[in-house]
Symmetry: C2
DNA sequence: TTGAAAGCGCTACCAC
DNA sequence: GTGGTAGCGCTTTCAA
């Protein structure tokens, strides 16, 4: 492996000049810059990450803390992970994976070892126990999700309140006077993942404003519980029922259940899916999809973190950024597959 | 941040002694070891990763190259990723995420920068273009997947040939004389991802051996194409049809389609799902599941890589390890949800 | 516009 | 069983 010393020798300059060519931290004459660049090319020189981190006190790595609890949909997480990794690379950084099963120890470890210059935490809970640790961690941290007390923290998430609102507006616009939100296992509601509450809050406010009656039926991911919710919705509804679900597992099963009940979306019912929408959902033709744009959230999270990492001052005051959902109406003839809305990656 | 110098001072020993206490690379008297450990504890000392990597030429990091192409199921990938990260930690290593969109450049980069001591490559293709680069990379590499020419490479994967065999044996055991394998989009067959061919090969061999007629119907993930395959199977079958699918997206839609056709698994048809099985599949009661055990594959991949990384000699000859699938029969009454088989994590 | 040289914090050799 | 010390390869002052 060639070192910057080798490059310097080949280019006939000092080692520091090589360094400055690489970092651009001081002006270099065109002539020597070209010579150095040629030498770098010729030797396929790559700066040693450890040495660089040691000398500069910057690892160019961001730590990504992923949830591995069974209650979160793996595909949705992966969507975040992939975009975060790709975005980090666009800004010349790498991503170190930390699982949340390491807990607070893990955060302290990667920061203490100076393996990374900043952290992104996914699946942040309403009363996340990592918050006190994060506050005195000494590196910038970006949360994906909004805890109850977000003062001084940097949080970014999809705007679930707005999504709830939009769902109800869609329903009302389609002429419904009542509807049901199906999904999220009961113990999530009103507790740990507060995007659930934000969504319901937005939906209920809009329902009140628009004079629509709205109910929330929690459901686990098994068929029986979803079916029960659907039945109860049909029973309660005068006129065409409207189903809203922000839960991937529910959306996976909903098409089959509706079909069993003889309900055809667009004719006998309205269906609105929120969030990462599974393939089975896309098999339904007449639907409205509220894309919460995970990839946009991820990109912004990375960019925010990088901004904080390069800021001279420690971040004052914190940030709160909400990404608005993207509404897509899908119409189609049976069997004709409309591609899912693609957010920029 | 305290350094090992601080620890040494506090414990009244030399810096090298601290290092040896941490690494265990030479015997230390009980007495001084305890003093040093106390000092480490008291200062919450953590070795600087960059400095350690620089001096020891070992980063304690393994690079994980993930596919981000749209044709692979994100949830399945995430299952590997999570287990790999967790397993790496068990052996005191971390995981650096590399996306395959960086291509060969990415491999050369992370190795060149000495960001990691070894690599795991996921979603390895039959004729993977990364192979020539890997061969002269200078660090151990473990493939998840088996390329056509695996000589000298270290490969590990689920035993798809055996899975195919088992599927047919299941069918035959249930009294079927014919069946259909539904899934994998056409362009994957016979081409890039050769686990497809391994599966079909095993299945066909068993079919011939057992006198079962077997057909493979490729399908894209849209409803129309899966429905067509199902119809064609029903038409061709004398007696009860058997459906086998190793494709997550197909398995997601299959329950609904079967129901539309009035087919009840266990009564009118047999259904065998292979691989990571989605929630919708679990809604079917009478099924056989062939778990390809992604988490076991992941664990073994990490352990193999670590073995190669600590080996003094560069790995001679390569490795080929196949993880046998786990067969689970599910019986149940409608609405009663049997938990999915959990591989050890 | 460039160079020399002093570290960054750790490991591992050599000496005792 | 322990300590001294020379680097690992880079960045970054200070000096020219």
């Amino acid at each position: 492996m060639p070192t910057s010393k080798d490059v310097a020798a080949l280019a006939g300059v000092s080692q520091s000049t090589v360094s400055y060519v690489m970092t651009g931290k001081r002006p270099i004459s065109e002539k020597t810059r070209l010579r150095v660049e040629a030498a770098i090319e010729q030797l396929t020189y790559r700066p040693n990450a450890g040495a660089r981190a040691l000398a500069s006190r910057k690892s160019q790595v961001i730590g990504l803390v992923i949830p591995i609890t069974p209650e979160v949909h793996l595909g949705s997480i992966m969507e975040f992970v992939a975009v975060i990794a790709a975005t980090a690379r666009r800004f010349d950084h790498d991503v170190l994976l930390v699982t949340d099963q390491e807990g607070n120890q893990g955060l302290e470890r990667v920061v203490g070892q100076q393996l990374c210059d900043g952290l992104i935490l996914m699946q942040v809970q309403a009363d996340d126990e990592r918050i006190p640790v994060v506050r005195k961690l000494g590196v910038p941290v970006v949360f994906i999700g909004i805890p109850n007390d977000s003062t001084g923290l940097n949080c970014i998430d999809a705007d679930f309140a707005r999504a709830g609102e939009l769902c109800v507006e869609e329903m009302a616009g389609a002429g419904h006077t009542n509807g049901v939100i199906i999904g999220w296992r009961p113990r999530l509601v009103g507790s740990r993942l507060n995007y659930v509450d934000r969504f319901l809050g937005g939906a209920n406010a809009a329902a009140e404003r628009l004079g629509v009656s709205l109910e929330h039926l929690p459901a686990t991911s098994d068929r029986r519980s979803i079916e029960a919710a659907v039945d109860s919705c049909i029973a309660a509804s005068q006129g065409m029922p409207a189903f809203v679900s922000p839960d991937v597992t529910v959306l996976e099963l909903l098409p089959r259940i509706l079909h069993e009940k003889g309900l055809e979306p667009g004719r006998d019912a309205s269906v609105i899916g929120v969030g990462p929408v599974p393939d089975t959902m896309l098999a339904l033709e007449e639907t409205t999809i509220l894309d919460i744009q995970p990839s946009l959230v991820s990109q912004h999270a990375v960019e925010l973190l990088l901004r904080l990492m390069t800021a001279d001052h420690p971040d004052a005051g914190g940030t709160l950024e909400l990404i608005p959902p993207l509404v897509t109406h899908r119409h189609g003839t049976a069997g004709h597959s409309v591609p899912a809305p693609q957010s920029a990656s």
